[in-house]
């Protein structure tokens, strides 16, 4: 039975594999079965039990990069309660008419990336750097669009009101 897994298990990546370790706290006062006393009271061991579906990996994936419909328009938009998102089917062999499965801001970032690669192909590194800067700027804008941050500043007691 696994318990307190957040502090008992650790992971790391080694090449294409993920390595899972369990933390074991030993007693360095009590001798083991051979009568020896462990000098180190803590150690990492291999997982010492089988847990069905015990490991959960949450990751960013390459999911449906090209789709058949515009992902930025609603399928139905009758009123504020009856609306649905479009059902997107992946296009495995993308063509000019295929839609990029990204929102508008990230699609514009894609345009900057394509311009940067084209500039690099022409040997214009300065222009490439400019477009890459624009690319990352749009990524930052997209990220900040998801967050609403309010800043409140207190006025000093001695300030003139």
């Amino acid at each position: 039975m696994s318990f307190d897994t957040s502090s008992n298990y650790f992971w790391r990546i080694n090449g294409q594999k993920m390595q899972l370790y369990r933390y074991r706290k030993n007693s360095f006062l009590t001798p083991d079965v051979n009568g020896r006393i462990n000098a180190d009271d803590n150690e990492l061991i291999y997982p010492d039990e089988t847990i069905s579906e015990g490991l959960r990996v949450e990751y960013n994936a390459y999911v449906k990069p090209f789709v058949d419909l515009d992902p930025n328009t609603l399928a139905t938009d009758t009123n504020e309660t009856t609306w649905t998102n479009p059902t997107l089917a992946e296009v495995t062999s993308p063509e000019e008419t295929s839609h990029i499965n990204l929102n508008r801001m990230l699609s514009l970032a894609c345009v900057c990336f394509v311009q940067a690669q084209d500039a690099a192909k022409q040997g214009n590194i300065q222009l490439k750097e400019y477009y890459m800067k624009e690319f990352y700027k749009k990524l930052a804008d997209n990220e900040s669009n998801k967050r609403k941050i309010s800043i409140s500043l207190s006025s000093p007691v001695s300030s003139v009101r």
Partner: protein, 92 residues
């Protein structure tokens, strides 16, 4: 936005090249932003340290292990770095 619109905005005529660059851009976006999160569950096996990562993985968001003694919650675990003195553990 369609591939054609990207090509028109960027002034590119080669469709295959444009699609390849758009794929690269999506890969770069997924590396830095959490746009398409997926989860996979893997069986933990006694005595086994190494586990396969999903082939479509671009970047890891979190790793959790099931806590069967706390109402079957998946609890986020921490990453370790550096070397360890254990090379093989046949009797954990």
């Amino acid at each position: 936005m369609t591939v054609l619109e990207v090509m028109e905005r960027a002034g590119i005529r080669d469709t295959n090249l444009a699609i390849a660059w758009v794929k690269d851009a999506i890969h770069l976006i997924e590396s830095t932003q959490a746009e398409n999160l997926k989860t996979k569950k893997i069986n933990i096996t006694r005595n086994q340290r190494d586990y396969d990562l999903p082939a479509d993985l671009i970047s890891i968001n979190s790793i959790s292990v099931l806590d069967t003694e706390d109402d079957n919650k998946y609890k986020k675990i921490r990453r370790i770095s550096g070397g360890h003195y254990i090379t093989e553990d046949k009797n954990p």
